[in-house]
Amino acid sequence: MLRLAFRNLFQNKTRLVMAVGGVGLALMLMLALDAVFTGAEKQLTAFIDRAGADVFVAQTGVRNLHMVSSWLSYSVVDEVRAVQGVDSVTPIMYVTGMVDTGKERNLAYIIGIPPDALMGKPWRVTEGATIPAPGEAILDRAVAAQSGLRLGDKVNILGQELRIAGLSEGTASITNSIVFISMSDFELMRGVAGKVGAGQDAQAVSFVLVKARPGEAADALAARIEGKVGGVTVQSRANFAEQERNLVKDMAADVLTIMNLVGFVIGLAVMSLTIYTATLARRAEYGALKALGARNGHLYRAVLAQALVSVTLGLALGLAFTLALSALIPVTGSNVALQVSGESLLKVGIASLIIAGLSAILPIRQIGALDPAVVFRRRIQ
């Protein structure tokens, strides 16, 4: 019966192409959307993942980076440094603001870093300085390229004109980019009085990035810092990134659900129609098989196998489309990054199985009700 299922499926090439193509596109919709959000999650947690810190110290109640404001007294930096298990600390300043390139305005995480920063600086610089000096900014290469900017060109950040001193990579996402400026410029722009750095006074920082000593567990160190330093929320890098991802998921959950549902319904409709019409077209043959002695179970298996094979091919096609898309998009200079996750593949795979099962129900009912005697009555349509 499996042979029959395969042959039935591959005999009508047009129908097969339409079915597999339709299901493939529907599943691609689900996969690509998931991939966009998985890619966005990666991009959005890029700073947390790549800043070099094991532990992040923030103002009490601040558990993520996106669209938050965190202010800590500079004294916290020394308090954290004094905690057992801390190897080094780097204070950073952070705000979400606009970068005006002259041609366009881009939303950006603006990170102010001290000149001696061990952490929190751009992790991959393709050109120029790795740490911005006063009056300088390090911009994402793709953002600069979109505006036709090069090293030495000027951009306006938080009302100040800064010279592009470096170009970083992997610091742009679907929603924003990351711009690195000096902490002193940040203070001036934000009107934060005082000085930072060794031997200098300061009033506030946004986060304290902490490097743990070798062998020190990040979660244990985070708990220890939170116990010793008052007024702070401390999280390991993994927890901080997870919180960020959850936030993105929360924001995107409704859109994802709706689009996944749309993809599912389209896939189901295409598959149902295909399997139904394929079964209808072979009604006489199924009737003959029943007359010859085939049981309903035999025929159900043939129909289900056709649905499963079609959907599997559709899933493979959808995955191929998505992977091709994820390879093509960066070439266009877009900041959208598609990343197909195992979780997404599993979800869409399960959805495919459900589509196959549901699409076979109607034809199975049709076959179940088919009277083998119709073969003799020659009334089969």
Binding site: M1, R3, L4, R7, N8, F10, Q11, R282, A284, E285, G287, A288, L289, K290, A291, L292, G293, A294, R295, H298, P372, A373, V375, F376, R377, R378
Partner: protein, 308 residues
Amino acid sequence: MISTDIKTNVTGVTHLTDEAPQATLQVSNVTKRFGSGETEVIAVRDVSLQVAPGEIVLIMGPSGSGKTTLLLMLGALLKPSEGTIKLGDQVLSDLEENRLPDIRLRQFGFVFQDFNLLSALTALENVAIVAQLAGAKNSEARTKAATLLTDLGLSKRLNFLPEKLSGGEKQRVAIARALVNDPTLILADEPSANLDSQIGREIMRLLKRIAKEQGKSVVIVSHDQRIKEIADRVLWLEDGEFKEMVTMVTDPVCTMPVEREKAASAEWDGSPYYFCSQGCRREFLLAPWQYLNGSGQRVAITGDVAIA
């Protein structure tokens, strides 16, 4: 002039002696009703029939006479309202519905008018799939199928799809499919209807060879007069009942159809002529040439027909 040499009796029952082999199929007083009350239709009425091993029985009759209904009951595709159908030692009419597919698969071979081959499968696979349904392993089923198809002259067509086969070849594949599980009874529904006369005859001779050489009982339902040539018995079904077959001829004088066996007859110029009455006979004998158009007796307008 159409005539028949078929010997039959009204019920179609072959009276078996003690020496005769046990009938493959025994149909006893089978009736099939559809609907009830005022809308009740009796499609088959109190029909009895026995088919011996190796015997070919042809069931003929006009459209709506109950032939298909009877064939469906014989093939365990429809349960009779009354009476019993026995295949070998098994009373089919008493079996549970879920046991019937297995009986059809192993005990019956079906040959359809439209061949009903699976269009996506090759000739070999069309035959093998039925063996596989009966539990044969793939290689065993393919070997059996190949042997049968080769025996039926299709050794060079094994891997052809049905669309690449002629009508006669398709029917041969269907016959191989009917034989693959070594059934005791072959039921053929208008097996020559979609074939030209020469191929139709070949297929009929093939069925006869199978019946005689392999001892398979064959029941054929058909309108095709040519099948009479190979049939051991011809039964006429009309209004759901088997009826005696008679030959109808046309009175050359008044052109009325008359039953040959009961008609008044006369011989002229070496040929027999039949009349509705002595009056027509006398009139004919006075000037026969007036009525013949030089071509002998006008042919029967209805050919073989049945009477109750």
